[in-house]
């Protein structure tokens, strides 16, 4: 027999899309990372924004936590209901609502997945692409934007959250807010400018201030050809300079840097993987030439060189998203993978790379140091990635400890946590400028007076 809340929720979304069963509670209490489980009382899969509004009203009235969820692939526990309540699985709301080819933007529902948009554009708008991350294609666009994710176009245009053109958000009271040009225009061409940019009230808050139900995605030119080169070096202290030269060319699509002990082809070196595109052989070859020449002085001094990319490796690298990134999870035959990826200045690369080596040795872990350049070397995401065996509690605990040390190091090195775990959120808030923190407090208090929106996250008032 269902309680009143349960009945109400089942009425809102339909019996078929409501669950208070142990099976859903078990699954949705967890994510593939290291956070211990916290079970929801209810899981719902709504089909439209009106249902989400009703859920929010109900939750606000009854003071029940509400946790929106994409695919749970941030790995830092952001969709785990820390204080129980209702998990809203957004993925049924996955339609591509419109694509404006000339204005280069798309409007998609809050549960639309990365893969779906890519496939849609490939088929119907082959001259357009979006900044797709390397998380599995089930990751949702809205969630990736919500956590300020990064993707293939980040080196050119910034965080994926910089590449949006508007939002539709449901707030705790159940009202819909349109954010950006769509607030007063039928067109979704801007997320804020030239008016006050209100996306800051929602992005990066992990659902603690509102639930994204629609998102305008900026689209970019998609060229016919795409290629990859890898510049390798044994001088981690020169990586920042190399990237400075590469970003200066303005010819590169995406720059990833990685270092890992296996397989043997990667051992001992740092790999600057760079992608570039073109519509013609001439364009691609010209870019390749400019890119190669930009690093001439390092080649001359023997400090680095372009490796021959084995033919079998190219399709793996050019895949979008890269399946090999997900495969890292099974290196220890245990399906486990979590990383702390602070956003930090590029010149901190040598410090980061030394740190990950130190931690891997200290805790006996499999690792990969993976960085993505943001903007023209404005910053990078340095991912301290560890792979663990989910059936080995000791390995999981050592991984947790290693990641905790990463958090402390990142802060000291002047970095800022990306998709911060609850602990990292607290560390960030403890370090923050008091007046800035007060602003956050004010926003959270006003947008979520009853503390129902993904509670446990950004709990400024509880500091």
């Amino acid at each position: 027999m269902m309680t009143g809340i349960a009945q109400e929720l089942a009425r809102i979304v339909g019996d078929a899309y409501f669950s208070n069963q142990p099976e859903e509670a078990y699954f949705y209490a967890r994510d593939p990372g290291l956070m211990p489980p916290h079970a929801p009382e209810y899981v719902v899969v709504p089909g439209c924004v009106e249902e989400i509004q009703e859920i929010a009203r109900l939750a606000n009235r009854e003071k029940i936590p509400v946790v929106p969820m994409g695919a749970g692939l941030a790995l830092t526990g952001l969709v785990i209901p820390l204080r129980g309540g209702i998990v809203i699985d957004m993925k049924r709301m996955n339609r591509i609502l419109s694509v404006n080819e000339g204005g280069r933007h798309a409007v998609v529902e809050g549960g639309a997945s990365q893969g779906l948009l890519r496939a849609y554009l490939d088929r119907r708008h082959p001259r357009l692409r979006h900044s797709i991350p390397d998380s599995p294609p089930t990751a949702t666009i809205a969630a990736n934007v919500m956590i300020h994710g990064q993707g293939r176009l980040t080196q050119q245009y910034g965080f994926n959250s910089d590449m949006i053109s508007g939002l539709e958000v449901v707030v705790a009271s159940g009202e819909i807010c349109k954010i950006g040009s769509c607030a007063l225009s039928p067109d979704w061409f801007s997320k804020g400018a030239p008016l006050p940019d209100l996306t800051g009230l929602f992005l990066g808050w992990f659902g603690a201030t509102g639930i994204i139900t629609k998102i305008g995605v900026k689209l970019y030119p998609k060229k016919k050809m795409r290629d990859v080169e890898i510049f390798i070096t044994d001088r981690e202290d020169l990586v920042a300079e190399m990237i400075y030269e590469l970003t200066h060319t303005e010819m590169v699509e995406d720059i990833n840097v990685f270092a890992q002990p296996k397989p043997m082809i990667f051992k001992d070196n740092h790999h600057i993987t760079l992608f570039f595109t073109g519509d013609t052989d001439e364009e691609i070859e010209f870019k390749r030439k400019m890119i190669w020449h930009s690093l001439d002085r390092f080649i001359k001094s023997k400090d680095g060189g372009f490796m021959g990319v084995p033919p079998v490796m190219k399709p793996t690298l050019l895949d979008m998203p890269q399946r090999s990134v997900s495969r890292f999870a099974d290196v220890k035959k245990g399906g486990g993978f979590e990383y702390s990826g602070p956003i930090i200045m590029v010149d901190k690369y040598p410090d980061c790379t030394r740190k990950i080596l130190e931690l891997a040795e200290k805790y006996g872990l499999g690792y990969s140091g993976m960085a993505r350049i943001i903007g023209r070397s404005h910053a990078m995401m340095y991912g301290f990635a560890f792979t663990f065996n989910r059936a080995d509690p000791d390995m999981m605990e050592r991984t947790r400890k290693a990641l905790h040390e990463v958090s402390a190091f990142a802060l000291e090195a002047g970095g800022v946590f990306w998709k911060a775990t609850v602990d990292e959120q607290k560390m960030a808030m403890a370090r923050m400028y008091p007046a800035t923190l007060d602003l956050m407090k004010m926003i959270k208090k006003n947008l979520d007076p009853n503390g129902i929106m993904n509670p446990g996250n950004w709990e400024v008032a509880e500091l």
């Binding site: 069963q21 099976e23 078990y26 593939p32 779906l116 849609y120 089930t138 399906g335």
Partner: protein, 384 residues
């Protein structure tokens, strides 16, 4: 439980839910139910939770496990090295539930009917070969091929027409075939897929002995499910015979022009059955048959080949219906997808797909816009 040492390796990344180009969710149960628990990753995590004692067997747990259509989309698209074992893992979990005796009534009933009647329709064995009465298909004595029909082809009203169509065309094409009729036994593919390994082994051994007694060297199956069992599971139990799906035998004859056909203006789309396509890699022969029909325009659905969307009949669901109907049922979604190609006909090579899709077309009220036909029914309609 078998594979209990690897269930923890699932990363719940969700590649298993998609096609290879991510156009759509392609796991039938996930697409219908929409809870992560009904996806392959969900099942892996729940099985682990159940083995660890964190969750118990319940009606929902059984629904989750038995709604899997064993379509192998997850096997095809999972990016990890254990992907080949995914469907086997779900079957292994079913085996444990069967051993405990706590399964959905529909599953229990299906298995009991097979055990008692030798078929899930509770029909007498004597009725098995009746579809062939009055047809050129004769009883098996020492012909080149045994034409193995299976339970669905023998007893289901729609499928019997397909059995007749296939059998007749095989004979017309000049092949030497015969049927076992009332002596035929259930191939057991669904029994195995539902986790009743003991009953499956019994059925298999009975069939192997029957074929041996009749000196059967080559078998043509009507149903891809039987094809799958004979090809992959019978050899390990002593089955020594060659097996073909009927499309694999007819395609070369049609390619060589040995079946004279007149022009037939028809726009058709082909629905890959999971047990012929993904499970056994046969995508070419059925298409080759269709392309050999003069005037036939073959169009592909968005999801075809390794990406075909399952009709939802596999994993026992054709009988148990645990995957269920409704607007979001796989079969109805597939019917709409077929319609989108502009085709007038959905060509099928499996009697279970045929019935699932035909019922779906009816539920969608599309009977005057698209028809479901077995490939041999199309070919027969164009014979000179």
């Amino acid at each position: 439980m078998k594979y209990s040492d690897i269930v923890h390796r699932c990363f719940r990344c969700g590649y298993c839910k998609f096609t290879s180009d991510y156009t759509d969710f392609n796991c039938p149960s996930y697409r219908k139910f929409r809870f992560e628990t009904y996806s392959p990753g969900g099942r892996m995590w729940l099985i682990r939770g159940w083995l660890n004692g964190d969750i118990k067997n319940s009606e929902r747990f059984q629904e989750i496990l038995f709604s899997c259509a064993t379509c192998a989309n997850c096997v095809e698209h999972c990016v990890f090295t254990f992907s080949d074992d995914l469907v086997n893992i779900f079957i292994a979990a079913r085996e444990e539930l069967i051993a405990d005796g706590i399964v959905p009534p529909a599953v229990r009933d299906y298995l009991r009917n097979i055990h008692v009647n030798g078929n899930p329709y509770k029909e007498p064995a004597a009725g098995r070969g009746r579809w062939a009465e009055g047809s050129p298909v004769e009883a098996y004595t020492d012909q080149d091929y045994l034409f193995y029909v299976g339970c669905v082809g023998s007893y289901d009203e729609r499928a019997r027409k397909i059995a007749l169509s296939v059998g007749t065309l095989l004979v017309k094409a000049g092949l030497s075939v015969g049927i076992l009729g009332e002596k035929e036994g259930c191939d057991g593919n669904e029994v195995r897929a539902l986790g009743e390994s003991g009953l499956f082994e019994l059925l298999a051994r009975q069939n192997i002995e029957l074929f041996r007694d009749h000196d059967v060297k080559k078998v043509i199956t009507l149903d891809p499910h039987a094809f799958n069992a004979f090809k992959n599971d019978y050899p390990g139990l002593g089955g020594k015979f060659e097996v073909f799906h009927y499309t694999q035998v007819l395609a070369p004859l049609m390619e060589a022009g040995r079946i004279p056909l007149k022009a037939c203006a028809l726009k058709a789309t082909y629905h890959d059955p999971c047990y012929l396509g993904r499970h056994n890699g046969e995508y070419r022969a059925p298409r080759s048959m269709l392309r050999a029909v003069p005037g036939l325009e073959l169009v592909e659905m968005e999801r075809s080949g390794e990406n075909a969307f399952c009709c939802g009949g596999g994993g026992g669901n054709f009988f148990t219906d645990i995957l269920g109907g409704g607007e979001e049922s796989p079969a109805r979604l597939r019917a709409r997808e077929a319609l989108d190609t502009g085709a007038e006909v959905i060509a099928v090579a499996c009697p279970q797909c045929a019935k699932m899709l035909e019922d779906a077309v009816k539920s969608e009220e599309l009977e005057d816009r698209i028809k479901v036909m077995d490939i041999t029914e199309i070919v027969t309609g164009c014979l000179i």
